[in-house]
C-alpha cells in the first residue's frame, strides 16, 4: 500500500497520506513532510518528545506536523523516524518520541515555512484513513 503521494500545486507542495488507522496516518503524514524537507537518510543520534492536543482531526494533524518545523527552526533538529506514537482519537491528542540528528550536518533541500489549512482534510474512506495537506514552501 502507498504511504503517501504528492499532487500538483502551483506555489506550494500538496500531499495525500494514507493509513489503516489514525496512528499509521500520522506516521505517514510525518514521512511525507520529511520527504519534502530532506529526502535522504538522517542518523538517529538524538531523541525528542512531542505532545500536542488538537480541537478536531485537521487541527491535530496541523499541530503535529508543525512540531517538526518548530524543532528544525528552534532546535536545529532534523527528524529521522518516529520511535513511538500514541494517538488519542477522542481527544485529538498525540504523544510521540522521535529520533533524529542536528540539522547542521545536512544539506536540507527545502524550507517548509508552514503547514496550512488550505484544502486540508482528514477523513476515513472505507477502511482507509486519508489526510491531505498543503505545505507553504
Amino acid at each position: 500500500m502507498k504511504k503517501y503521494e504528492f499532487l500538483e500545486h502551483t506555489a506550494d507542495v500538496k500531499f495525500i497520506a494514507y493509513g489503516k488507522d489514525l496512528r499509521k496516518l500520522m506516521i505517514n503524514s510525518a514521512k511525507a513532510l520529511k520527504k519534502v524537507i530532506y529526502n535522504k537518510r538522517v542518523k538517529k543520534r538524538e531523541e525528542k518528545k512531542i505532545k500536542i492536543k488538537g480541537k478536531d482531526l485537521e487541527n491535530m494533524v496541523y499541530l503535529f506536523l508543525e512540531e517538526f518545523l518548530f524543532l528544525l527552526d528552534g532546535k536545529n533538529f532534523l527528524f529521522s523516524k518516529i520511535k513511538e506514537i500514541e494517538v488519542d482519537e477522542k481527544n485529538f491528542s498525540i504523544k510521540a518520541t522521535i529520533l533524529g540528528d542536528s540539522s547542521k550536518r545536512y544539506d536540507i533541500q527545502s524550507d517548509v515555512k508552514a503547514i496550512t489549512y488550505n484544502e486540508m482534510y482528514v477523513r476515513k474512506e472505507g477502511k482507509l484513513w486519508i489526510s491531505q495537506v498543503v505545505l507553504d514552501v
Binding site: 502551483t10 533541500q109 524550507d111
Partner: protein, 465 residues
C-alpha cells in the same frame, strides 16, 4: 473593460467584483489553477471595499492568491493572516554601489564565494549573529533602526526602507515564545526556496530623471536582497490563525485559511501588532545582511560605497488613506505577494523620492532581469496603491524540480552568470522556466500604469538559499 483588465462580476456571496490585471496570455495561465476561485473567496469577506484584486503575477496560493490585494473598511472590515501570508514581510531591498561591471567582472567568482560563505543560507543551519532574548524583543519593536543604533549601518539605511524600517505598533509581548524560539537563531539568514542575494548591473535606463533621483546609472552594480521574517513570522501567522479560529470559528468561511478577525477587535489589533513585530524582524534581517555585504565588498574594494536605495514589503497589511467616492478614508490594505506603489506626494515615501514616487522593486526569476519601477497616482486609484512583486510562478515545484540542478547551472553559466546555491533543490525548483516571463509581466504593469519602468537590472552573481 479597458485592455488587460478582467472583471469577475459578483455572484453568490461576493460583496464586490474580482478584478484581474493581466495580459490575455497571463490571464489564460491564471485560469488554469485555483487563482480565480481564491479571488472570489476574498470578495466574500466582510467589509471589503471596491474589488478583490489580482496583480499580473498572480497565481494560486492558500486563502488569498499570491498577487492578491484587498482593502477593508476599518469599522466593518476584517484582517486575515492568510491575506498576509506565512512569510510576513517577505520583502526586497535594493542597494546601490559605486562599482561598475568592469570592476566586478574579474573578481566575480571570488566575491560569490565570499558572500555565500558570509551570509548563511539554506535550512536548519542557524546564524553566527547571536541574539539575547532582550535584544530580540528590541528588534521586534524597533526593526532596522535598532540595529543601526547598535552600529550595523547608517541612518540613511533605515530612512530608505518602507515604514523607515520600523513598523509602528509592534508589541513583542504579543509574539509567542514558540515564534521567538524559531526566530532567535535565524537573524541574518536568507533561508531557502525563492530567497536570494543578487549582484546585478544596471543594463538599461527607461526614465533618466527618476533613475537619477534613485541614484541609478547605466553599468552600475546594484544588489537585491530577498528574504523575510523566517521562522518567527511563519509561527506568528500560524499562532494567530489558530487564535482566530478559536475566537470566531470557521463555519462560514469558504476556505479555512481565510480565517479572520474584525480589524477593530482586540484579536484583530493584536495580530496587526504581532505582524508588525515580524515585519521589523524582516527589516532587521536585511540590515544584518547589508552589513555583511558591505564588509565583504570592502575586502576587495576598499573605497566601495554601498547605499540603500529602498526596501519594499511583499506580504503585509497596512492602514493607508485613499480617496474613495470623493472622500478621504483610511482602510486596511492586504498585500499578499504584492508591492506598494505610491505615486508622488504621499507622506509615506522618503522625502528624497517624494517628488517622483516610491521605488517599486520587481525581482525577476533566477537568471532573468529584474526591474526598478516607480509608483504612480494611478495605482492609488485602480489597485489601492499596489503593483506586482515579481514574475510569479506558473509551474509547480514538483514539475520544476524535475529539471536537474546541473542543467540549470549550465544555462546560467552560458549567460555569464555566476551562481551559488545553498540547496541544490532550490536551483531546480526556482529555475527560470518555472516562472512567468518577467518582461511580459512588467510590460503589462507599465501599460496599465500600476507602476512605471525606470531601470532594467541584469544578474551577474546569483546566490540563492
Amino acid at each position: 473593460m479597458p485592455k488587460n483588465v478582467y472583471e469577475i462580476p459578483p455572484k453568490k456571496d461576493m460583496k464586490v467584483p474580482g478584478r484581474i490585471y493581466a495580459s490575455k496570455k497571463i490571464f489564460d495561465k491564471i485560469k488554469k489553477d485555483k487563482t480565480i476561485e481564491q479571488i472570489e473567496n476574498v470578495a466574500k469577506l466582510d467589509g471589503i471595499i471596491g474589488a478583490s484584486f489580482a496583480m499580473p503575477d498572480a497565481h494560486q496560493g492558500y486563502g488569498f492568491c499570491i498577487g492578491g490585494v484587498a482593502a477593508f473598511d476599518l469599522e466593518k472590515g476584517i484582517v486575515s493572516p492568510g491575506g498576509v501570508g506565512y512569510d510576513i514581510n517577505c520583502s526586497v531591498r535594493l542597494l546601490k554601489t559605486n562599482l561598475t561591471i568592469s570592476d566586478l567582472e574579474p573578481l566575480k567568482e571570488k566575491i560569490a564565494d565570499a558572500l555565500q560563505k558570509r551570509i548563511p543560507s539554506g535550512v536548519g543551519r542557524g546564524s553566527p549573529f547571536q541574539l539575547s532574548r532582550k535584544k530580540l524583543d528590541l528588534i521586534l519593536e524597533k526593526g532596522a533602526k535598532y540595529l543601526v543604533d547598535e552600529g550595523y549601518g547608517t541612518k540613511e539605511d533605515y530612512l530608505n526602507i518602507e515604514e523607515e524600517g520600523q513598523m509602528k505598533g509592534a508589541n513583542p509581548s504579543l509574539v509567542s515564545e514558540r515564534a521567538k524560539k524559531r526566530g532567535i537563531g535565524q537573524m541574518g539568514t536568507l533561508g531557502a526556496g525563492n530567497h536570494f542575494l543578487d549582484l546585478l548591473v544596471v543594463d538599461e535606463i527607461f526614465d533618466e530623471k527618476v533613475a537619477d533621483k534613485f541614484g541609478l546609472e547605466k553599468n552600475q552594480i546594484v544588489i537585491l536582497i530577498h528574504c523575510g521574517s523566517r521562522g518567527l513570522g511563519h509561527q506568528i501567522a500560524s499562532d494567530y490563525i489558530k487564535k482566530m479560529e478559536e475566537e470566531y470559528g470557521i463555519k462560514n468561511l469558504p476556505d479555512r485559511e481565510l480565517v479572520n478577525a474584525p480589524i477593530k477587535s482586540k484579536l484583530g489589533k493584536e495580530y496587526l501588532s504581532a505582524m508588525a513585530c515580524a515585519a521589523n524582524f524582516a527589516f532587521a534581517n536585511k540590515q544584518i545582511i547589508t552589513y555583511w555585504v558591505r564588509d565583504e565588498l570592502k575586502k576587495y574594494f576598499p573605497d566601495v560605497k554601498v547605499d540603500v536605495v529602498y526596501e519594499v514589503c511583499h506580504n503585509i497589511a497596512k492602514i493607508e488613506e485613499y480617496k474613495i467616492n470623493g472622500k478621504k478614508k483610511k482602510v486596511c490594505v492586504h498585500r499578499k505577494g504584492a508591492t506598494r506603489s505610491f505615486g508622488k506626494g504621499r507622506k509615506e515615501i522618503p522625502k528624497k523620492y517624494r517628488e517622483v514616487g516610491q521605488p517599486v522593486l520587481i525581482p525577476g526569476s533566477m537568471g532573468t532581469p529584474s526591474y526598478v519601477m516607480v509608483g504612480t497616482k494611478k495605482a492609488e486609484k485602480i489597485s489601492f496603491g499596489s503593483s506586482v512583486h515579481g514574475a510569479g510562478r506558473e509551474m509547480s515545484r514538483s514539475q520544476s524540480g524535475k529539471r536537474s540542478s546541473k542543467d540549470v547551472e549550465k544555462e546560467l553559466k552560458k549567460k555569464g552568470i555566476t551562481i551559488r546555491a545553498g540547496t541544490k533543490q532550490s536551483l531546480s525548483n526556482e529555475n527560470p522556466q518555472a516562472y512567468k516571463d518577467i518582461e511580459e509581466v512588467v510590460d503589462v504593469v507599465h501599460d496599465l500604469g500600476l507602476s512605471l519602468k525606470v531601470a532594467k537590472l541584469s544578474p551577474v552573481i546569483v546566490i540563492i538559499g
